[in-house]
């Protein structure tokens, strides 16, 4: 591998201790061992997130969004899967913590919402019982108290006549209601970190907007840190404070949402942005609108992993093909990993990309 760990991750812990974010991910690597070789699904990802902030993670299919978020929760699967790097949550490194410790944080301090709320709930158990279970595993209370809590939560996420619906089964709910119930379940223990992996992809557009509103409201109420993974830049624009663009298991650009939309600096981000303006495409098609195919994660290209698809690779000098660009800060809170000189990126965006957006 020619990829080097990022300087921030390699730096000693002494310096790092000084300013650590509420969630601080450093040089995260998730590798799936397969018979064809090691799939480097997450390959040196670093970012930080504070409470009360929402981070949108975007990137095309297979860029490692789910693998990264499952690793944060300690939910990576497979005997031949390794997670390396550091995941600091509220000052505690989850990568080195015991599995039992991580389990006790799961559902309590960090919670997750999944894409398909139908398959994500156990078909045999009542919705209420599933929420009660989530609450009782971390709180020593009677079933009755927990049920009251479940009804409150269902009511809070906008389920009509919650006291009655608490006894329904998942298949008796509509898709949007199920996702609300999933959110209620995730919020049952007031988590300070909420990860939502494509929470609205399986829902129709109006329901989508309602769910996003709900997440927005809940965040204000609970002051949690939210990570929302999506294919839909519209969702990002609506809900996120910051955007992290992933490519081949790594962050290529990370910054405040306004800046990513108005002054993006990475050629891959440009591709994503121009693809959403093409409204004639179907939604799932839009993020694939960057020409070319995602790289193999078993043999990630040398240099910038995006170079085989990058229109500007030739402008960035030979380093583009030999050296992996690291995230450099270009503005407060805005980091970009690209070998092009900053002036060139600003100019290309202004002159070539922006006019067609």
């Amino acid at each position: 591998m020619t990829a080097r760990p990022e300087p921030s991750a390699a730096a000693g812990t002494a310096a790092a201790l000084v300013d650590r974010h509420y969630l601080d991910v450093r040089d995260l690597r998730v590798t799936f061992g397969t018979d064809d070789g090691d799939v480097r699904a997450v390959n040196g990802l670093s970012f930080g997130l504070e409470r009360g902030r929402t981070l949108g993670i975007v990137g095309e299919s297979g860029s490692g969004k789910s693998a990264a978020s499952l690793a944060l929760m300690g939910l990576q699967r497979g005997r031949r899967t390794t997670v390396a790097g550091e995941i600091w949550l509220d000052g505690e490194n989850l990568v080195t913590a015991s599995p039992e410790r991580v389990r006790s944080l799961r559902g309590r301090q960090m919670a997750m919402i999944f894409q398909d709320p139908l398959s994500a709930m156990h078909p045999y158990f009542k919705i209420g019982d599933q929420i009660i279970e989530a609450y009782r595993v971390h709180h020593d209370v009677s079933k009755k108290v927990a049920k009251k809590r479940a009804i409150e939560l269902l009511d809070r996420v906008g389920i009509p006549s919650a006291a009655r619906r608490v006894d329904s089964y998942p298949h008796e709910f509509s898709g949007g209601m199920r996702q609300r119930a999933m959110i209620a379940m995730a919020l049952s223990c007031d988590p300070s970190l909420l990860i939502a992996d494509e929470p609205t992809t399986a829902l129709d557009v109006t329901v989508q907007a309602q769910i996003l509103d709900l997440l927005n409201d809940l965040q204000k109420e609970f002051n949690s840190a939210i990570i929302i993974i999506t294919h839909d830049l519209g969702v990002v624009a609506e809900i996120a404070d910051e955007v992290l663009v992933m490519y081949a298991g790594n962050a290529v650009e990370h910054g405040p949402v306004q800046e990513i939309f108005s002054a993006p600096q990475h050629p891959y981000t440009w591709g994503l942005l121009s693809s959403i303006t093409r409204l004639d495409r179907t939604r799932s098609d839009r993020l694939r609108a960057v020409p070319g195919n995602p790289p193999s994660l078993i043999a990630v290209p040398d240099g910038c992993p995006f170079h085989p698809r990058c229109q500007y690779a030739n402008l960035a000098g030979p380093a583009t093909r030999t050296e992996r660009p690291t995230l450099e800060t270009v503005a407060p809170g805005h980091r970009v990993a690209c070998h092009l000189p900053v002036e060139a990126r600003v100019r290309i965006f202004r002159e070539e990309v922006a006019p067609s957006l």
Partner: protein
């Protein structure tokens, strides 16, 4: 729910009735069409002409088939007289026909064979459920481990070995070679429970060997399917301990298909485990029907077939009801 059960039971009765019609036609009409006289079959090998005439009269074989069937059906509920001159035979209800070969009502043969078959089936079922399902779950949880590979290799071998082979080998070893289980024969449970178990054990082992292998594979596959489900990930995401995730969330779904297959297997085992019974010389329903077939004892074949079908139909109903109880999605409202 009650309505659902009643509907299924009524459906089951209709199916049983259809089975009785079809079997009846098969045994009484087909020989006629083929030009042979069923009475000859009933009367046994190379009977005299007078005997054939007597049987024809006695069984009412000279009557139209519908009438014959009606007598058969009514006999189940009211009992039946078989008269031919001075020779009077009473077959009390439930009369599933009368075996002239053995000079006794078929029902009597069935009730004699049934405890043997039930002992064999239930004992084996307890063994193979415990062993097969246990190994299946362990294999799934330790997928790819040495334990898993070893178990699945043995299981693959076991499912491909026929019962009469494993049965004979085991008999040879434990009964004749080592004489641990000498003189194997059926002893009624109420007569001597210890001897009952001792004599059945080799047969249980043979059946359980085959079925454990099948159930281990089935359980493992089902468990692996379920462990990959999104709702298992959700259960983990809630912070549930692994034993709750597996023991409550995964097992409940994974065992549903296993219980379904088990119901059907048990239903057919109760109809008679032909090979095992024959190998060990137990006169259960399986051996009884095999003997009836080899001697052409049509009433016995007919009676046992309908009776065995009853077990399968009953098992199907129970499985459906079970499904409705565990899975709210198929639960009738």
């Amino acid at each position: 729910m009650a309505g659902f059960v009643i509907r299924r039971v009524l459906g089951g009765i209709v199916i049983l009735w259809l089975i009785s019609v079809i079997t009846f036609l098969l045994f009484f009409l087909v020989p006629k069409v083929l030009g042979s006289n069923p009475a000859i079959l009933f009367a046994g090998r190379s009977p005299s002409e007078a005997a054939v005439a007597g049987v024809t009269k006695k069984l009412g074989l000279d009557q139209p088939i519908v009438v014959q069937y009606w007598h058969f059906l009514a006999g189940i509920f009211t009992g039946r007289h078989f008269d031919a001159g001075p020779d009077k035979t009473w077959c009390p209800p439930p009369c599933f026909g009368y075996s002239f070969k053995n000079s006794e009502p078929v029902w009597q043969e069935i009730t004699r064979a049934l405890p043997v078959t039930i002992s064999l089936a239930l004992g084996a079922a307890v063994l193979f459920l415990l062993i097969g399902v246990g190994i299946g779950i362990l294999s799934a949880l330790r997928r790819g481990s040495v334990v898993d590979r070893a178990a699945m290799t043995v299981a693959l071998g076991a499912v491909s070995l026929p019962v009469y082979f494993t049965g004979l080998v085991l008999l040879l070893l434990v009964s004749y070679q080592w004489r641990i289980f000498p003189n194997i024969h059926y002893v009624a449970f109420l007569d001597n429970p210890l001897l009952w178990a001792r004599n059945l054990l080799p047969a249980w082992i043979v059946l359980a060997f085959l079925y454990s292998a099948m159930y281990a594979r089935l359980t493992r596959a089902s468990m692996l399917d379920v462990l990959g489900e999104d709702y298992i990930r959700t259960a983990r995401a809630k912070g549930l301990p692994e034993r709750t995730v597996v023991g409550k969330h995964a097992l409940r779904s994974a065992l549903t298909p296993v219980v379904t297959i088990f119901g059907l297997d048990l239903g057919s085992l109760l109809g008679g485990a032909v090979l095992t019974e024959t190998t060990f010389g137990f006169r259960g329903l399986g051996k009884t029907s095999i003997e009836a077939i080899s001697t052409g004892d049509l009433p016995t074949i007919l009676g046992v077939t309908i009776f065995a079908a009853g077990f399968v139909v009953l098992a199907n109903i129970l499985v459906d009801v079970f499904y409705a109880v565990v899975d709210p999605r198929v639960r009738p409202t």
